[in-house]
């Protein structure tokens, strides 16, 4: 109980502190922070739009949060989630277009597989580069993000765009590849709200990631590598293998964003669709204390903000939806510098709040 309270304490303080700093900024631009925050958070609680859209926005953030989490647990920093989800979303659309006429039973699983595999493979590249050459995954994943965006934009523009379409997007996927919106099951939730079964998949993934990391031997090996690579190696665990596996699993989770986006929402690949999901995933994982349960709550918080941002834009005088990103940035900054708060209350000298990191690969 004590540990749970402690686990909850710092994220909570970080969020409150971020809202305070954000409030000061809102005051500076001449608006009332209370009003702005009421718009920002209050709008998310209305039924059905507020709740529906919040859960819809939370879906990709749960996936990306889990993706970043799996990396962190192995001592890897996957900043490449953004690129992985682009590649995966395109792959999903590609299968959905190419095999449009197949039956749902065949096509939907295949599209799922495409999303998961494409994400996993793209993420495995920096994994292999680190395992084989020891090159830093942070740099490589950043670089691969840009490569992914260019690559996907190339394929869209040259091969899958509807001729004459002024927007850079692919043709529609086959209707058999569509996955149901939750509105078709839940009374009172209109189908225009794009919340779809991918949300349930996201929740399922939280359970699966928990089971994988804490209840299987593979998860044990990944966490051991993240906790102390030398000891893991001593225990007969191949660090190189864990690096590649963890990156691939991370990428697979990132790839599932494509399922939500392509199969459940837009029914096509739309260039530049991601609203920084991959980077917000870092915030989600950190705020969620690198635990699947925490990820759900953190994703919901950021989703609320994202949804509320639109209302702030519309109804607030000076505050724009950019406040969402400002708050996000400040939250991560505070979460990262945890020792700042300990220092504030005069409890301790700053300690290195280094995430576990796999540095050198063996000797």
């Amino acid at each position: 109980m004590k540990t749970l309270a402690r686990e909850l304490l710092f994220p909570l303080i970080a969020v409150i502190a971020a809202f305070v700093v954000g409030g000061i900024l809102i005051l500076l631009v001449g608006d009332n922070p209370i009003d702005a925050y009421r718009l920002l958070l209050g709008s998310a609680l209305s039924w059905p739009d507020g709740i529906g859209y919040t859960l819809f926005h939370a879906t990709p953030l749960i996936f990306t949060g889990l993706a970043v989490l799996v990396g962190f647990r192995c001592g890897l920093f996957n900043i490449g989630v953004e690129g992985q989800l682009y590649i995966a979303a395109f792959a999903t659309a590609w299968v959905g277009i190419e095999l449009a006429n197949r039956s749902s039973w065949f096509l939907i699983p295949l599209c799922f597989a495409a999303a998961i595999l494409a994400g996993a493979l793209w993420a495995a590249i920096p994994g292999v580069l680190k395992a084989r050459f020891g090159s830093h995954e942070v740099i490589n994943t950043i670089m691969l993000n840009f490569i992914a965006v260019s690559l996907v934009s190339y394929f869209t523009q040259y091969y899958y765009k509807v001729p004459g379409d002024p927007i850079l997007q692919t043709a529609m996927i086959g209707e058999n590849a569509h996955i149901p919106r939750l509105g078709s099951f839940i009374p009172g939730l209109p189908e225009r709200i794009p919340l779809n079964v991918a949300f349930l998949l996201a929740l399922l993934c939280c359970v699966l990631v928990y089971l994988f990391l804490w209840r299987t031997k593979w998860g044990y090996e990944i966490r051991a590598t993240g906790s102390n690579p030398s000891a893991a190696e001593y225990g007969g665990i191949s660090i190189r293998k864990q690096i590649v596996v963890a990156m691939a699993v991370s990428g697979a989770l990132a790839g599932m964003v494509g399922i939500n986006e392509v199969l459940g929402y837009r029914y096509r690949y739309y260039d530049g669709f991601s609203d920084n999901y991959g980077f917000t995933g870092i915030a989600v994982a950190l705020l969620g204390r690198n635990h699947p349960l925490g990820v759900i709550f953190a994703a919901l918080l950021f989703a609320m903000l994202q949804h509320g941002g639109i209302y702030v834009d519309g109804f607030s005088e000076n505050v724009t939806k950019d406040i969402v990103q400002v708050l996000q940035g400040i939250i991560i900054l505070f979460v990262a510098a945890e020792s700042f708060f300990k220092w504030l209350v005069g409890r301790a000298r700053p300690q290195a709040n280094q995430l576990p990191r796999v540095r050198a690969v063996t000797q």
Partner: protein, 307 residues
């Protein structure tokens, strides 16, 4: 193919490389002192927005005319410095994870310009257009000379002054520097703050040099290209300059070609592939395929003194 190497292409290569050079050389100071700088992007955004806003204010509110871009440049520098200060305090004083803090700064700076411009200019995400004659000089010759002087200066500072020696030692082996009576945190602060200033100036050149206003997310990943150039240049000033010129060139080509480059054989190289060049090269270099690019040994590790 011959058309590619025109004078205008060289000129635009220099112009496009300028913000990269400034940011990358800034990153050089920071990373040589042992602090990773994935926040270059955020610092450039801060510089770009502030420079445009200050120039506009100096021009319209204070009537400073031709002097206004220089005030704007100063504004960009200060903005970069301010952001770097936050980053430095977080990473050095509070020993936060450098990559996480850097990512936080980047996300924060995606929001701040829009937030402020929405309030002050009532146009979400951009600043008002500036008059063409109230911008920073754009003559390729002037820029080229300035950049060369800057690189020479930085090279000198890094290799020929006590400060440079200490900075490099802190990035390689902070405990050795500490044992020699050098303050690790002081030098890391200097490294990060210098990076902020230079990246801020680089951003400023983007908004009040290359263009005449700030637009939403106008750096579009240039901070990361600068980081790539720094790695490709093996954390050395002259090589980093060359890497920036190469990456500036690829950008110039992709803009000039507006679609695809025609090879003599008649085939097209889509612009997307040209855009990828800097990133692919960086990955290749980092993997050690073209020589080895060894980062400063203590890069990314907070210095924790035993007590």
């Amino acid at each position: 193919m011959r058309d590619v190497f025109t004078l205008s292409l060289i000129a635009s290569t220099i112009r496009l490389a300028t913000p990269l050079v400034l940011a990358a050389l800034g990153g050089l100071f920071s990373e040589r002192s042992g602090v990773i700088n994935i926040a270059l992007e955020g610092k450039m955004l801060a510089g770009a927005f502030t420079a445009a806003a200050v120039t506009y204010a100096a021009d319209t509110k204070l009537g400073m005319g031709n002097a206004s871009p220089w005030v704007g440049l100063l504004g960009g520098l200060v903005a970069g410095l301010f952001i770097a200060f936050i980053y430095a305090v977080s990473c050095i004083r509070f020993k936060a994870d450098q990559v996480v803090s850097g990512a936080a700064i980047n996300i924060l700076m995606l929001g701040i310009p829009g937030f402020l411009s929405g309030a002050f200019f009532l146009s979400s995400g951009s600043t008002p257009q500036l008059p063409k004659d109230h911008l920073l000089p754009q003559s390729p010759v002037v820029i080229a000379i300035t950049i060369l002087i800057l690189v020479a200066l930085i090279w000198y500072v890094l290799y020929k002054t006590p400060f440079g020696l200490r900075l490099r030692s802190v990035g390689e082996k902070p405990e050795a520097a500490d044992a020699a009576g050098v303050s690790v945190s002081k030098l890391r602060y200097s490294g990060v703050l210098l990076a902020g200033m230079l990246a801020g100036i680089g951003g400023a050149y983007l908004s009040i040099g290359q263009s005449s206003l700030f637009t939403r997310n106008m750096t579009a990943g240039r901070g990361f290209i600068a980081l790539a150039a720094l790695i490709f240049g093996k954390w050395r000033p002259v090589q980093t300059l060359l890497a920036c010129l190469l990456f500036g060139f690829t950008e110039a080509v992709s803009i000039q070609m507006q679609g695809a480059v025609k090879l003599p054989s008649g085939e097209d190289i889509p612009v997307q592939f040209i855009n990828m060049v800097p990133y692919v090269l960086t990955i290749v270099v980092l993997a050690g395929f073209i020589g080895s690019s060894r980062p400063p040994r203590a890069l990314g590790v907070p210095y924790q003194k035993e007590k």
